[in-house]
């Protein structure tokens, strides 16, 4: 399959990217790892007139920095760099754990975290993880603007990024060393997009759950936080009955569509099952007793 002809722009600076985008708006698309955009162009689901190659900006937009109150990740960091990052394995193990199950090795060698959240496929993995972590996205258009994950993911393939903006950085608030976490991705076959994916974080406090964050993806038009469940967990001594209630609340929020990966009813069921498993794993990793 051959993409429709397009013209090529190679920027030297971020300002050149923004200048070009401002001039050509929706007709121009930036290319990061290309692992969503190129397949779409080959299928002619996308046919931009101009492609702006971000690769020349790799040096300035590819970093993982841990310091102060946050972890900052450049938009061009590849999935595999997160998967193999020793510092992230210690600091925020949910990130390498999630990266490990994106597509396959070759996909992870090319795809970028920035491209993934910008593309915002409702069945993709990073948006769910970012929502659970309260990540903040830096968008550049000559000046910087910061958008929290709760306002960033608007709908399928739709984010807060304006056509003339470039996502440059993802900032994630640091968590205390002793936090519980879990990443559960249920896939129909190896390397597939998720049927359902769940990110859970638990901050323990004196043998209780201090606070909890649960994000669910792939079973809704965008990833969502299990707000009611999180409220139930706050301050609780966890037991299986509570876990069950939280999982039910998560499943009741889902509005899945029936497709190759299963019927809506089936997907609501696996949502409950995987939220339950995720919550139990995170509680155990937080060293809390589950009664």
């Amino acid at each position: 399959m051959i993409p429709k002809s397009f013209e090529y722009f190679e920027p030297k600076t971020l300002s050149e990217v923004v200048g070009f985008l401002k001039k050509h708006k929706e007709n121009a698309k930036v290319l990061a790892g290309g692992h969503s955009l190129i397949p779409m162009m080959k299928l002619r689901l996308a046919a931009p007139q101009y492609i702006i190659n971000l690769e020349p900006l790799r040096k300035s937009l590819s970093y993982i920095k841990v310091g102060g109150k946050s972890i900052r990740i450049g938009a061009l960091v590849r999935h595999a760099e997160i998967e193999h990052s020793q510092i992230l394995k210690r600091e925020l193990p949910i990130l390498p754990a999630a990266a490990e199950w994106i597509g396959d090795m070759q996909v992870r060698n090319m795809g970028t975290i920035g491209g993934s959240v910008a593309h915002s496929d409702p069945a993709s993995d990073w948006p769910v993880v970012m929502l659970s972590l309260n990540a903040v996205f830096t968008l550049y258009s000559g000046k910087k603007r910061k958008v929290p994950a709760s306002k960033f993911f608007i709908g399928p393939f739709t984010t807060a990024i304006k056509p003339y903006e470039v996502l440059t950085e993802i900032e994630i608030p640091r968590l205390p060393k002793r936090h519980g976490w879990s990443w559960k991705k249920f896939e129909r076959k190896a390397g597939d997009f998720a049927t359902v994916n769940v990110a859970t974080l638990i901050l323990p406090k004196d043998g209780h759950i201090g606070s909890a964050s649960i994000a669910v993806g792939s079973v809704h038009y965008r990833p969502y936080r299990v707000t009611e469940g999180e409220r139930l967990l706050k301050g609780a001594k966890p037991d299986l009955e509570l876990v069950e209630r939280v999982a039910e609340s998560a499943a009741s929020m889902a509005e899945p569509t029936s497709d190759l990966r299963g019927s809506a009813e089936y997907k609501r069921h696996v949502t409950k099952v995987f939220v339950k498993r995720s919550l139990i794993e995170a509680i155990e990793r937080a060293n809390l007793n589950l009664r």
């Binding site: 190129i38 590849r78 090795m105 070759q106 190896a190």
Partner: protein, 184 residues
């Protein structure tokens, strides 16, 4: 495929290009070409350079038959990438290794030998991509467990062998490569 040397700027006068000059090193040989923006790397390798060892299977990023190794993707090492999901211009200034570049002085690479010895191929269509993916895996993880091998080649499909002999071959090659200190 445009082979003209001149680089035309587009009418829009926006500094965008219709044709892109690229320099690529493939299997140690430097090539300079002018390519259309939409030319895919797999077509560049097969149709422009005549290196038909890398195959096109699915053409949709799923089967891995088009896998090649590339330097300077991340972390400095060789990395396995799917050349059907890659524009030729993205390879500009980079080094590529394809199946044709593996044998040295008429001697097969340990992975090639192991695929032969362990019957890791039948029709052979998936083999070049499978071997390049396996090499990409072994460069990241020289002593993988069987489970890690299975996961490492999950982006490569084989419709003939049932994978068991492929996994045996990669396992054997990994051991030989570590023992002999073979890198690429």
């Amino acid at each position: 495929m445009a082979r003209r040397k001149s680089v035309r700027k587009t009418k829009a006068g926006s500094n965008a290009l219709n044709e892109i000059p690229i320099t690529v090193r493939v299997n140690g040989v430097e090539y300079k070409n002018t390519v259309q923006p939409r030319l895919l790397l797999i077509h560049y390798l097969r149709d422009v350079l005549g290196l038909t060892g890398s195959h096109i299977g699915c053409d949709t990023s799923n089967c891995g038959a088009c896998t090649v190794l590339m330097k300077d993707v991340w972390g400095g090492e060789w990395r396995a990438v799917k050349s059907c999901t890659f524009y030729a211009f993205q390879a500009n200034g980079k080094e590529i290794l394809t199946i044709e570049g593996l044998a040295r002085d008429g001697e097969l690479h340990p992975l090639q030998k192991a695929f032969w010895e362990h019957h890791g191929l039948q029709c052979g269509y998936c083999t070049p991509g499978m071997i390049m993916a396996a090499l990409g895996l072994l460069l990241m993880n020289p002593n993988p467990t069987v489970e890690e091998i299975r996961k490492g080649i999950s982006g490569n499909l084989c419709r003939c062998t049932g994978y068991i002999n492929i996994i045996k071959a990669i396992d054997a090659a990994a051991k030989e490569m570590s023992a002999k200190g073979v890198k690429v």
